[in-house]
Point group: C2
DNA sequence: ATATTAAAAGTAAGCGGTTTCATGATTGCT
DNA sequence: AGCAATCATGAAACCGCTTACTTTTAATAT
């Protein structure tokens, strides 16, 4: 059944050297005479030897595998991050064990323990609630963690982000400056720190700096889906909002289309700014103005940071903040 | 540095049994006296022992890890499949090593060898060209492969799909029945078997059954991106096409918006049917008519099939064909 | 030539489990 | 009570590689 696999031992025998020597050439250890190295290399080639990564992992305690915890694969925001992660992981020869969390606490816990059992060398976490349990699980993992495009409210773990507060402040201020007084704040669950502690803060900040009162009735929490956004159209009209900041592009597309289908003209009667500048912002009609963030880079930088951590390199600031912007498209005047 | 990890040996000592016994209880082997089992379980609990999956993998030659080769994480078609895969993988306790191929041959090759080195128990492949080299790499992997939402033109590997030929035939026939005579065929590279051998066949079939000549000038190959589609608008008008079948939703959205922005009314002046029924079809305006496929299920079934294969279970037909449909939305009359 | 040092190669002990096989403890029967 | 059959456990080999340590070989110095 099993195809005969050739092991380091076979190579050693065939090349008439010890396993140690073979291991050395495989690992690029310089303490090998060129002639010997060549001989071994030839045998490796001839036998088509391929080192068993599992054995290697056990012996060296390094698996060259990292875990990536992602709330939702099908959400562009996360998949763009993942792409950045993936690319630099490849660059540094790490493999990725992808683990979906569905933003579900128990699942996250289980997933982390799982990754720990698999002895990953590091973990990239996307998600926005970190319970004590989860923190414990992280610690058990005995591997560095970095938060990618996700915020660690307690600033215990390294993370790479944009300045969410400032970004939202800017976005909402823009809406205000266009004369909007009743600006809805539409995001996912307020249990998520990014919403509760960052975005909402930016929202309030923008309002108060313009002397606009905060009205809780304008705050909508729902899930990050097109459908959820679409369904929100009526409520938005009911509260007489004339604009909205939305925390997710797909959600924003839903809001946009829901409103449009309800006969509301965007941007004339209602302005929308969304958050992630994913492809949805271009595809929808009207196209959507958005906060822009370097999604790919957030992923890439996270992974790069992780490699440093795994390498025990000194790193400066544990939290890196990437620049954001505001892109005007058709959903704002 | 390293946190003290507790091993099976520690548990054995503490519980005053042998490692073998601990191993047995961990693995649910029935040959353990209930009292002993309980004692061991208690110690495991007390010591917070967690088996090292790498060691396990080496000893048992099973890693409970599978490889998933995906051309593009950010493409909804694939990420929807991946979600299905992920869910049932979780169900069966498998972890996923995600490997992006970018639909690039060399990368695919490297990736497969990589997964092989990591001793994955199985592989799910998405992609549409299988060179001899790649086939060889698959064989070396010594692990079952299944093609998910991708076609193996030589029918050597198990796969789960829809009937692409029939689906495209239906779609194009629908366009014809609306009176369109010049129907463009817009997809990705013709190097991909799914395009060259399946979709195109369906296209031709639909035309010839309606006695419409095949015009190569109506066939467009490009990459699966919004931009590419958008850029195609002019060419589409130049060849005087009045409708198009498009092989990817994002691409279709590009075509749609490109046309719209060029002043062409969809569907009045130009009808579009796309292929994957992803969320883009709902978000665009007008919404897009599409072939419907059970994306999640294709992924899920693929994974389920893989588990059977890994388990050496007898399976009936190596290629499972799931039902497709046609969903009329606003991009067709 | 010989002593000293550095470079190259080998030995073998793990890494943390699984699993085969042997052995001792139980149980069932007559 | 005596013996076979069954169950529960332990001993130890092994999975395929890395690595600390030792030995051998080569190079340089004296």
């Amino acid at each position: 059944m099993d195809k005969q696999t050739v092991t380091i031992y076979d190579v050693a025998r065939e090349a008439a050297v010890s396993m140690a020597t073979v291991s050395r050439v495989v690992n690029g250890n310089p303490n090998v005479k060129p002639a010997t190295r060549q001989k071994v290399l030839d045998v490796i080639d001839q036998l088509d030897y391929r080192p068993n990564a599992v054995a290697r992992g056990l012996a060296s305690k390094k698996t060259t595998t990292i875990g990536v915890i992602i709330p939702d694969l099908t959400n562009s925001y996360f998949s763009e991050l993942a792409r950045g992660i993936d690319d630099v992981a490849l660059m540094y020869k790490y493999n990725i064990i992808l683990a979906s969390s569905d933003e579900n606490h128990d699942k996250e816990l289980q997933v982390v323990d799982n990754l720990t059992a698999k002895q990953v060398d590091g973990i990239i976490f996307m998600g926005n609630q970190v319970s004590k349990d989860l923190r414990d699980a992280f610690n058990r993992a005995n591997a560095p963690i970095v938060f990618a495009g996700s915020v660690d409210p307690e600033h215990q773990s390294p993370s790479v982000n944009i300045d969410y507060v400032a970004a939202v402040t800017d976005a909402v201020a823009k809406l205000v400056s266009r004369g909007n007084r009743r600006i809805a704040f539409v995001t996912g669950s307020m249990d998520e720190s990014i919403n509760k502690d960052y975005r909402l803060k930016g929202y309030k900040q923008a309002l108060s700096s313009k002397r606009i009162g905060y009205d809780e009735g304008l705050v909508f929490q729902t899930d990050y889906s097109y459908k959820a956004g679409y369904a929100l159209a009526k409520a938005l009209q009911d509260v007489k909002a004339t604009a909205a900041f939305v925390g997710d592009d797909e959600l924003a597309a839903g809001v946009l289309n829901g409103l449009t289908d309800a006969g509301v003209n965007v941007p004339e009667d209602f302005e929308i700014i969304t958050s992630n500048d994913t492809r949805f912002t271009e595809i929808s009609r009207p196209t959507m103005s958005s906060i822009t963030q370097p999604l790919y880079d957030i992923g890439a930088v996270s992974m790069r940071l992780l490699t440093k951590l795994m390498n025990n390199e000194e790193i400066g600031d544990k939290t890196v903040v990437l620049p954001y912007g505001l892109k005007k498209r058709q959903s704002t005047k």
